[in-house]
């Protein structure tokens, strides 16, 4: 195209696999007047798509990433650009053999055929490796290689044939202008294009392009080293691109795959080598391509030895040499997940970045659906670019976490594993006290939260007969029996829990009620002082969030949400904010301590003159009280099922509040309790659901058993779908199950029929463990899982697959009725 149009409905920047896929799926969904730009030439503009190793192993522990991968494989297959060759992850170490047991569980959960195989079988499949180094293999017959450049070309062709797409190659974007917070124009070296929607699919350059519009895309370019060794006669003789399964040598963090006559060797074992998007050379200044940087041989030498050990013959073939060696650039993010969705900073500016070849087509389809319908059929809360708080969008944070995360690419990562870099960013006012009490800090949203307190170790003796020790190291990793003891002490006496990581917002003004009503399923037009817990739905009726509203005045609402969800929720709350509503983010000005347990009232009554009796301050209400001169917003509710309050105070008076409660609590045996109690043990006993675990956009309130008795007359987002969900039989319902044996699944494991069959519901969704944890007061280890009605029968026996073994479980509760204190007598005491 010689001349750019003056305007376009949408400008997609970046013609790698992601930009092509977004353009194609927008066209498929009826978008017209799509303009796809790239600075480089087609079909290979020089980004990461052009040099990736292009193989796909479908199984990931993450449901979200596996779903995107499976969707992408189906698309590659449809375009005829997928070659199934199978893939084997091989174990050299016993810890990896155990990890394969967990990978099998994930494979079963997400419905990918896989098998654990012996070294002999590995050698049958890949005759040119040394099986003597190996202990076992995780065999995925459907693993494949794909051609993303060809796929992209076919996608462009298709969208062009629909009359939907125009393409501007070798067109550099110089600026993105905004008007009133929304994209208005894209400036390029070939002219300006008016548009109100831009998609940034620029891979490693994305941060630079986003910055043109005043937004951030928190990723860093990082090096992944690859070499091609050949010619190798055994491979050349196959006369094909790939005839043998791909090998992932997991314990050396490497892979080896046939590529024609060569063996391609790639590594995630070398030191993290990060680059700045602005420093990536231009096409003209690059010997190969901008994302194929000069190979730094010293970094790769140890891996060469590892590769030679596993492939001693083929890699030592006389005449075979390193024919191609690059420091290939890929995108790393602070948490390893993609960056998808509309940026929180600029309306109409979408990100489709930090995507691997294996997810590219699926990401394109989801982003196009999101742009068109406002939701995605695959839940993407973990990939939503809005998930980051401001400090997590800084280059400082991105580089720290990307450096730490790089070597975890093939690592064995425990689901509770904590990051060690860039900690200590957000500290509650109680932090010093917690340090003194020996808190073990876990991080959420950058906040340091005590998970348990070493000062409570003496409680282990007190409750020795009720605390189950975990024999297996994996079960006990990032965990302490102290959590169980804290839980029991809370149920017996009273506990203080730091909840400062909550995100808190206020809506005020004449339009506040209508605005919050539109967001919430529950009726919010309640008397001042009422607390309302409510799901927030997306347009298709799946969960978008769950929060607690407090009506502080006729025209003022406080909303409290989880620390993990605050950034996403903030965007959801402020999108389309009406002119007569003001919004304030109070997260950094309010601290919170939870005071719960049978003696909570005694403690609170001793430090306030306000009425905290059951009559004067009933359950489900909130009001301002004064504690030692500190104005406190006290909310009588509990996520752990106990009598007590969330006490919200001005941040700078938090320490005073903590010290006052602590001192007053001493005669009552107060203990500090960690998030292990709040988020897991106390919650699970009460059957409370967690956003991102039980609640995601693929499930609705009827299935989660959170539908309310009545539907309010006012409109709200997702209402139509919610009404439909209520009218039909639910395909699955959230249940609480108990482990019949002393093993401790961690979440994500498949629930199977008594004969070991995978369970799926009428919508094709699998039954898997959404949350898992101890229930110390009910004497059982608890799992939550959605089950189809035929299995959702209390007392029914099923199986859970954990670490390669199937254990019996029993359906203990169908729906939300809790195992512990089902009548809520304690909370309402």
């Amino acid at each position: 195209m010689t001349n750019l149009p003056n305007s376009a409905k949408v400008v997609v920047i970046g013609a790698g696999i992601v930009g092509n896929s977004v353009s194609y799926h927008l066209a498929e969904r009826g978008w017209r007047d799509i303009l796809l730009l790239d600075k480089g030439p087609l079909p290979d503009p020089g980004g990461s798509t052009g040099h990736a190793s292009n193989f796909i192993f479908p199984v990931d522990h993450s449901k979200e990433l596996t779903a995107l991968t499976l969707d992408s494989m189906a698309q590659y297959e449809k375009f005829g650009t997928l070659t199934t060759c199978g893939g084997i992850e091989v174990a050299r170490e016993p810890a990896r053999v155990e990890e394969f047991g967990r990978r099998m569980a994930s494979a079963t959960s997400w419905g990918v055929p896989a098998e654990i195989i012996t070294p002999d079988r590995i050698a049958e499949l890949v005759p040119y490796l040394d099986k003597n180094l190996l202990l076992s293999g995780f065999w995925t017959p459907s693993a494949a290689v794909v051609d993303p450049l060809r796929t992209g070309a076919l996608m462009r062709e298709h969208a062009t044939a629909l009359g939907a797409l125009r393409i501007g190659a070798q067109t550099e974007v110089l600026g993105i202008e905004t008007r009133a917070g929304r994209v208005s124009l894209v400036r390029t070296d070939k002219g300006d294009v008016e548009t109100d929607t831009v998609v940034i699919a620029c891979g490693v350059w994305s941060p630079r392009i986003a910055r043109l519009a005043g937004a951030s895309i928190p990723l860093t370019p990082a090096v992944h080293q690859m070499i091609d060794v050949g010619p190798i006669p055994e491979l050349a003789a196959t006369n094909t691109e790939i005839a043998f399964p791909i090998v992932r040598d997991m314990d050396t963090l490497m892979y080896e795959r046939q590529s024609g006559a060569d063996l391609e060797v790639g590594s995630y074992a070398h030191r993290p080598i990060l680059h700045e998007p602005d420093d990536i050379p231009s096409i003209a200044a690059s010997p190969l391509s901008p994302t194929q940087l000069p190979f730094t041989a010293d970094d790769f030498d140890p891996q060469m030895q590892d590769a030679l050990d596993l492939f001693p013959q083929v890699l030592a073939t006389p005449g075979a040499g390193v024919r191609h060696a690059i420091n290939g650039l890929l995108s790393l993010t602070p948490d390893g997940s993609p960056l998808l969705g509309e940026t929180p900073e600029v309306a109409g500016l979408w990100s489709a970045a930090a995507v691997w070849i294996k997810e590219g087509p699926g990401v394109g389809r989801m982003v196009a659906q999101w742009m068109t319908e406002g939701h995605t059929e695959i839940d993407l809360h973990g990939a939503d670019i809005a998930r980051f708080y401001p400090h997590q969008r800084t280059s400082y944070h991105v580089r720290a976490r990307a450096s730490e995360g790089f070597n975890k690419t093939y690592g064995i990562v425990h689901p509770r594993e904590q990051w060690s870099s860039n900690r200590g960013q957000r500290l509650s006012p109680f932090h010093q006290r917690e340090v003194t009490l020996g808190a073990e800090f876990f991080e959420v949203g950058g906040w340091e939260r005590p998970q348990w307190y070493e000062s409570n170790r003496p409680l282990l003796d007190e409750y020795a007969d009720r605390i189950a020790d975990r024999q297996h190291e994996w079960d006990a990793r990032w965990w302490s029996p102290i959590s169980t003891a804290e839980h029991l002490a809370m149920r017996d006496r009273v506990a203080m829990i730091d909840l400062t990581a909550f995100a808190q917002f206020e809506f005020a003004g004449p339009g506040a009620l209508d605005h919050v009503q539109n967001l919430a399923v529950a009726q919010l037009d309640r008397p001042v002082g009422r607390l309302v817990y409510t799901p927030l739905l997306g347009p298709a009726g799946g969960f978008r969030g769950d929060v607690t509203f407090v009506r502080l005045a006729h025209d003022r609402f406080r909303v409290v949400t989880g620390g993990a969800d605050g950034a996403r929720d903030r965007k959801w709350f402020t999108d389309n904010l009406p002119g007569d509503v003001t919004f304030a983010d109070l997260t950094s000005s309010v601290c919170t301590v939870g005071l719960w347990g049978p003696r909570a009232r005694d403690v609170l009554a001793s430090v306030t003159d306000d009425d905290v009796t059951n009559e004067g301050f009933p359950f489900g209400t909130g009001r301002w009280i004064t504690v030692a001169g500190v104005p406190v917003l006290a909310l009588r509710l509990s996520y752990v099922g106990e009598l007590g309050w969330e006490l919200h105070a001005p941040f700078e008076q938090g320490l005073r509040l903590w010290d006052t409660l602590w001192e007053a609590g001493q005669p009552h045996g107060v203990v500090p309790a960690g998030i292990g109690v709040y988020g897991t043990t106390g919650r699970l006993e009460k059957g409370y659901r967690l956003m991102g675990a039980e609640l995601d956009s693929e499930y609705d309130p009827v299935e989660a058993d959170l539908a309310l008795p009545k539907v309010k007359s006012q409109p709200f987002i997702g209402k139509e779908a919610y009404l439909e969900a209520r009218a039909r039989d639910r395909a699955a319902v959230l249940c609480t199950l108990t482990m019949d044996e002393r093993r401790y699944p961690q979440g994500g494991e498949p629930i199977l029929t008594p004969t070991g069959e995978r369970i799926t519901d009428a919508k094709g969704r699998p039954s898997y463990v959404t949350s898992a944890g101890a229930g110390p007061s009910v004497g059982a280890y608890l799992l939550m899982a959605y089950l189809p009605p035929r299995h959702a029968v209390e007392g029914e026996g099923l199986l859970v697959e954990y670490m390669g073994t199937r254990y019996p479980v029993t359906v203990a509760r169908v729906g939300r009725r809790p195992l512990f204190d089902p009548a809520d007598d304690r909370m309402k005491a």
């Binding site: 060794v229 420093d279 990536i280 050379p281 231009s282 096409i283 003209a284 200044a285 690059s286 010997p287 940087l293 000069p294 190979f295 730094t296 041989a297 010293d298 030498d301 060469m304 030895q305 590769a307 030679l308 890699l315 030592a316 005449g319 075979a320 040499g321 390193v322 024919r323």
Partner: protein
Amino acid sequence: MDVLVCVKRVPATGSEVPLTEDGREVDTRHLGFTIGPHEECAVEEAVRLVERHGGSVTVLTVGPPESAEQLRYALSLGADHAVLVETTDPDPDPQATATAITEAVATLSTPDLVIFGNESADAGNYQVAIRVAHALSLPIVSAVKAITIDPATNQARFQRDSPAGNETYEVDLPSAVAVKEGLNLPRYPSIKGRLRAKKTPIRTVNPELAPGGLRTLRFHSPPEATRETVILGRGPEAAPHVADLLTDLGLTILT
């Protein structure tokens, strides 16, 4: 026979060479380094000669400590020994470079053949080989595209292209020679070669160097070539024009 190959660490650039702001140097912050194509052929030829006739290959470079990377590359291709003549001046001129090489060679057992790339891939001064040969009183032929050794007579035969055909020189060993790309097809480094290279010690010498007489004032990038698209025709009618174009470019073989 003992062969010495001299190589130079040069930036690996694309079609556009980035310059520092003052224009005095190539901006290498984001560039990798390599040896030039002539020198790749020089190393390959040395390795082949020793494979055929026995002896050993020593590779030598003059440059900063980082030049060890290029020595290890040559070792991975099959060179046996490596010498790094370390300089404080990051880019010594041809005169200083030649002096450094000459002094370093004096510390080695006298090679039978000293092979240079015809000119360095970056500066292209065409001087070092001739200066070294002169200083060591060795015969030298440049632009050589074929080498044969006759051990019986201890002579070398060097062949090079000329506009009229080609020229062949016979010289007595020891000799120097400056070779050009096309001399051979260099091999790729093998994995084992690379692992061996990693373990081979590099001998470092630190000569006192007087600066030479050549100073770089500044570089200028050539004006961007304007590109023009000419449509040669459409469908079958385009074929003769395409054939003419390929002939003009010298890409067709007339039989």
